[in-house]
């Protein structure tokens, strides 16, 4: 779960990470009241879970009340890279002598938290990483022993921070690490971390990603989930225990197990099709979960055909068949379905489907054959030439993973 800047800063405060004073606001009136409370000059900041707010005009300085009102009005409701601004954070303007970059990340490869520090803060740090990798000091921390003062000193000296702030920067990193561990974050990032002319070190921004699996231990964080910012189909899927990611294509996909679903996307793409979604029904999905999954898939209007690719381990073929039959009963889909059913109770499942004699449902014995078939059907449904599949999508961003079962 990604936090908004102000949520991240409130979380920081619990762990002794110094941040500027600020007040959240959801309306222009609240924003003006907040600005009056904070004092001028202050900064009005759009709260959206995405980078590049500044460039998009989502961060403005207000020197007085009329400017505060003007800026708040301009930013609220603004669209920033596809996200609408519903909330603002009004904070005191900070004087900046230096801008640094700091982060703590869950490094899967090293199986340890990784702490990074750079004096090249306030700019695109990925660019710094590419053009001048030595400008980012990096240290892994033994999670059983924890962050030591020497880690902070070493990072500060190696990054080359001003010598008079080696201590405060180290203390800031220790506090960020404490927040990372204490809140079970997978990412804590501050860019810029500033040094004021008074030589105080402060987090001027906050990007925090929390581990959803650990939220049961952090009820105050669980409450921060911004349901309104989530895709409605993805939310529906989540509520039903399914992992769903919407894509741009027209072939609905359902499988069991993240690996098999990813593989199914690949095989469909290789057959010239374009998947409309990633949907992992998970291990041991029962009939009602399958019914829900069909509902979620078909709620995307672009879908022209649906592929079921099931290789049952704990998932049982008969349950999948029952779920699909129930879905046809309830939803009465008009698009064609291709079903490939293997594994536990597969014969029983195929028998049930055959008996139900559902309209426009095709069973295929192999994954590759099923992919060919669904691509063909989607093309037909789209009308010739029209529904030709898009190019296979480009490989995904580095460092990210598709959702898992």
């Amino acid at each position: 779960m990604d936090l908004l800047e102000y949520q991240g800063k409130q979380l920081f405060t619990r762990h002794g990470v110094p941040v500027p004073d600020g007040v959240p606001a959801k309306t222009v009136e609240e924003a003006v009241a907040a600005a009056d409370e904070i004092g001028y000059p202050c900064v009005i900041k759009a709260q959206v879970q995405i980078g590049g707010r500044g460039k998009a005009g989502g961060i403005k300085v207000a020197k007085d009340r009329s400017q505060a009102e003007e800026q708040a009005r301009a930013i609220l409701g603004m669209d920033i890279r596809g996200l609408t601004v519903h909330e603002l954070w009004v904070e005191g303007a900070s004087e900046i002598a230096s801008e640094y970059y700091a982060s703590v990340i869950f490094d899967r490869s090293a199986k340890a938290p990784l702490v990074m520090l750079s004096t090249k803060g306030g700019m695109d740090i990925e660019e710094v990483a590419a053009s001048d990798p030595d400008a980012i000091a990096r240290l892994h921390v033994d999670p059983l022993v924890g962050f030591q003062d020497f880690h902070g000193r070493r990072l500060a000296f190696e990054a080359g921070v001003d010598s008079d702030v080696v201590g405060p920067v180290g203390a800031m990193l220790a506090a960020l690490y404490d927040a990372f561990i204490g809140e079970e974050a997978t990412l804590v990032e501050v860019n810029p971390m500033i040094v004021t002319p008074d030589r105080e070190v402060r987090a001027l921004d906050a990007k925090v990603t929390l581990d959803d699996n650990a939220l049961f231990r952090h009820s105050e964080n669980a409450d921060l989930r911004d349901i309104s910012a989530e895709d409605p189909q993805e939310r529906m899927a989540k509520e039903r225990g399914l992992t769903y990611v919407k894509l741009d294509g027209d072939i609905g996909i359902l499988g069991n197990g993240a690996g098999l679903v990813m593989s199914t996307l690949d095989v469909v793409a290789q057959a010239g099709g374009s998947p409309a979604n990633f949907l992992d029904a998970g291990g041991g999905a029962k009939a009602d979960a399958i019914t829900s999954a069909v509902e979620v898939i078909l709620s995307n209007e672009k879908v022209k055909a649906v592929l079921f690719n099931i290789f049952g381990g704990i998932t049982r073929g008969d349950e999948v068949a029952k779920g699909l039959i129930e879905a046809f009963d309830q939803i009465k889909p008009t698009v064609p379905f291709v079903v490939r059913l293997d594994g536990t109770n597969d014969e029983e499942g195929r028998r049930l489907l055959a008996e139900a004699n559902l309209p426009n449902v095709h069973t295929e014995p192999t994954m590759d054959g099923a992919a060919q078939k669904v691509v063909e059907l989607a093309g037909v449904a789209a009308g010739d030439g029209q529904g030709r599949p898009d190019e296979a999508q480009s490989p995904q961003d580095a460092g990210l993973e598709a959702p898992r079962r």
């Binding site: 690996g259 291990g283 381990g313 293997d342």
Partner: protein, 293 residues
Amino acid sequence: MSILVDSYTKLCVSGITGREGTFHSLRNRDYGTNVVAGVTPGKGGQDVDGIPVFNTFHQAVEETDANTGMIFVPPRFAADSILEAEDAGIELIVVITEGIPAHDELRVYNAIRKNGRSRLVGPNCPGILSPGKANVGIIPAAFFKEGNVGVVSRSGTLTYQIGNVIAQQGFGNSTIVGIGGDPVPGSDFIDVIGLFEDDPQTELIVMCGEIGGDAEERAAEFVAENVSKPVVAYIAGFTAPPGKTMGHAGAIVSGSRGTAAAKAEALEARGVRVGRTPTEVAELAVSLLGAAA
């Protein structure tokens, strides 16, 4: 031979009295696995269809000499159960539980590695099957038969998919190891491939990876330096959707690693044949085995 689980396995199941725990424990026993004990705090003294239940792993080990543990408890109790199994002297701990908090996995992984007493497989994995000998976990054993192909995979269903195609071609498996796809797997490709390399029964190794992390890239290097047996690989996720992210630290760390293309390239650069679909992988494996035979 085979690796990790076999006729010497004495299995103790944590969470045996839960619905899934009971179902799979009995299924494993039906397959021939020696399921000697279960652990459920407060239910010590009971039994599950004749399998004695203990309050603690320590009691279970003391009474039954269990050497392998299977963890089937809900995610919030899993870290504790794994550490208990290790403390009790269990040598191999297979964690089926999915959804364990990442920081719990981090803590448990590092604690167990530093102590060096136990091997962890999983979490969020389907378990380990040595066809004809023992099944520990939820792998549907009926689709596999004994043979000379070792399979190691981050994905459960994908493993079944590939193993099934191989079986349909008349070949079988030494052992199938699901290492799971969680952020901090207890055993990595490298660990398992090293075991296959030393296993006389295994003549070919299939590894089945996914996007994310750099486990496949590291495995490629390991194979080039340490493995004499042929290795065939599959990577899922060429078409996976780009994730959404706010922070940049992840990209700094992983650079260009982690994509399916980068992984496939790294593997092929080190002599590992990479199939583009599960079927192609199975066919590659079969052709190599046929050539060797």
